[in-house]
Symmetry: C2
């Protein structure tokens, strides 16, 4: 007899619509867990974010990394507030976790979701891509500085730092991801024509890792040309891997081309499983609709389902996504998708599906 | 009586389809000049490119910047060949000119052109944007390096270098550009949430330059979010300004969304007019179709027309573009636009229009 699995999750709702969408997702996951009755899951509320920063001068309490290591995973909402510079809030919380906790694989599935419309008439069957973003170094290494601040001759740098180890591990992850998908297609995105150091190293590592995956068909593409391909030949794409910044840009574009950034999930994974992975919707804090009760919870549902898969609960995740998709297909949608439902309405409808 | 204007142009066809499209454009410009008979223009052939590199070890002869300073402008084709690493060819020629010659404003008009179809069903009336790219520094400063090459602990940097002067001059240029257009709308693109130095300086300079342009409505947008806006709300956009890399990416995306990268022109301007500006199609060398006689010459026609405007020959440019647009609207198009014409067919049709 195996012990009944039990998971401890750090819930970090954060700012803006974060609390609304995270509590929506927790309700659905708890309903599902009760219904299935095959594992336990407990969410601890962790009050990090801009309110915490305003009270204490810090976005987090104590050593955030050590705190998170007590959990099996984290479910994250959003961070950022209109009255704090973005780089303070982001580096105070999210970017203080992703890199330092070695959550090096940011995985972003993108597909045309039931209830959303693909705005591209080159993709009449919709889009189904898997985006893999290097999440621990590169343009987000946090390096650089400003000199002669405020002088006319002021100069500033942003330093992208790449390591062979960092590139190799994400490349291997991406090839495995491509290998696990039916089309076994991978595109490696770089910008090695104008950037001659870290980007050339990316090209070299890609070519060497590719040798271990003879069954994966791969090609290399410059990031600018990749945007053209995404628009003009969407069906030629399956899995994509690239740097922290390049894939930040391409994943937003991909979600928009698929139909809505409002449903896009993301997983920040430590594939070695030494550290707990973090799951979050891509959309951010969206202060314009905060507190109105109309935030779209689907991206967080999907992120929570990815978390369940990561924890080993594949069937539960499949059931959850099935329910979410049926609700969306039935037109129970928030206003951002052209619907008239509020967040609670979507939650109730999904919970009803779970009960069926 | 004013003297009849006379212009000397450096023609640098370069690699791939560069020679085909540049000679096509020269034919049209010469036909037009003869017809109008109000100014003279002479093209000197400058044989820089990969063949030159293979013979001499250098992409250029002597001091390229001094050579170009003998001309009123340059008309450039493309650079890059399958058997030379891209970073060698690009930095051997194009990137050795743009920055060092202080051609700091890369201007890229993007619009849905007669004969092309906008693939977005969010933009049924097509697209008409003006993209302004910083062209002398930032991510293309050419800085960075590799250490411990080939070792497992290899590390490499790509250093983006920004200066207040560099940002201020392109920002001023962009605000003036926005001011000259009917909608007087400008979006400043940065990534100052994750990048805390040069990108924050961009934000600060934008806010300060904006004070001098009270009649321009401007906003700020993160580069990732900008891709979403381009797809989802194309009509909310008019003029955009951003860094060398960000606008490299966004200008390719914009051209694809408008209908075809094959018609996209660009101007590399020194707005102080100390140095001759350089005009080039965006498409690149396109080796897959080189020598087949089917390259689309429209991007180079349009680039040459922008050159005529820059030289002061607005009427000639307007006439030239009118002829090109009529030919495209009549369906005389190369295969990349779904047509059956070859390059020569398009040239002949445009020359016939010029004669009318
Ligand atoms: C919030 C921000 C720092 C973040 C990023 O740029 O990585 C976001 O855009 C994302 O894509 O997760
Ligand atoms: C050829 C290449 C260096 C160039 C760039 O990246 O600037 C091209 O993509 C462009 O947009 O002009």
């Amino acid at each position: 007899m195996t012990a009944r699995p039990s998971y401890r999750i750090a819930s970090i709702p954060g700012d803006g619509i974060g609390p609304e969408v995270v509590s929506a997702a927790i309700k659905v996951v708890e309903k599902l867990t009760k219904k299935l009755n095959t594992f336990d899951i407990n969410f601890d509320h962790i009050p990090w974010g801009t309110a915490h920063y305003k009270q204490t001068g810090s976005y987090v309490t104590g050593n955030a990394l050590d705190t998170l290591r007590n959990y099996d995973a984290s479910l994250f909402g959003a961070v950022g507030a209109p009255d704090v510079p973005d780089h303070i809030s982001l580096w105070g919380l999210l970017l203080a976790i992703r890199g330092p906790l070695q959550l090096y694989a940011n995985v972003r599935p993108v597909r045309t979701f039931p209830g959303t419309k693909c705005p591209l008439n080159t993709a009449t069957e919709g889009i189904d891509w898997m985006l893999v973003r290097e999440n621990s170094e590169g343009e987000y290494a946090g390096q650089g500085g400003r000199s002669h601040v405020g002088q006319q001759w002021e100069a500033a740098t942003e330093v992208a730092l790449f390591t062979r180890v960092g590139i190799e591990r994400i490349m291997r992850f991406a090839f495995e991801m491509a290998q696990s998908r039916p089309r076994k297609l991978l595109t490696v995105v770089t910008k090695s024509n104008s950037m001659r150091n870290g980007m050339v190293l990316w090209d070299e590592v890609a070519a060497s890792v590719a040798k271990d995956f003879p069954d994966v068909t791969w090609d290399k593409m410059l990031v600018d040309a990749m945007t053209v391909r995404m628009v003009a030949k969407p069906q030629s794409i399956d899995t994509i891997v690239g740097t922290n910044l390049h894939m930040d840009i391409l994943s937003d574009l991909a979600a928009a081309l698929a139909g809505s950034i409002g449903v896009a999930p993301s997983s920040n994974l430590d594939p070695t499983r030494k550290n707990p992975s973090l799951f979050e919707p891509v959309h951010g804090s969206a202060f314009d609709i905060t507190g109105k009760g109309v935030a779209n919870p689907v991206a967080t549902f999907w992120s929570a389902a990815e978390m369940l898969i990561w924890l080993g609960e594949k069937d539960a995740a499949a059931k959850m996504m099935g329910c979410v998709e049926r609700v969306c297909a039935a037109g129970i949608l928030t206003p951002d998708l052209g619907g008239t439902s509020d967040t609670q309405g979507v939650v109730d409808a999904v919970c009803l599906e779970v009960e069926k």
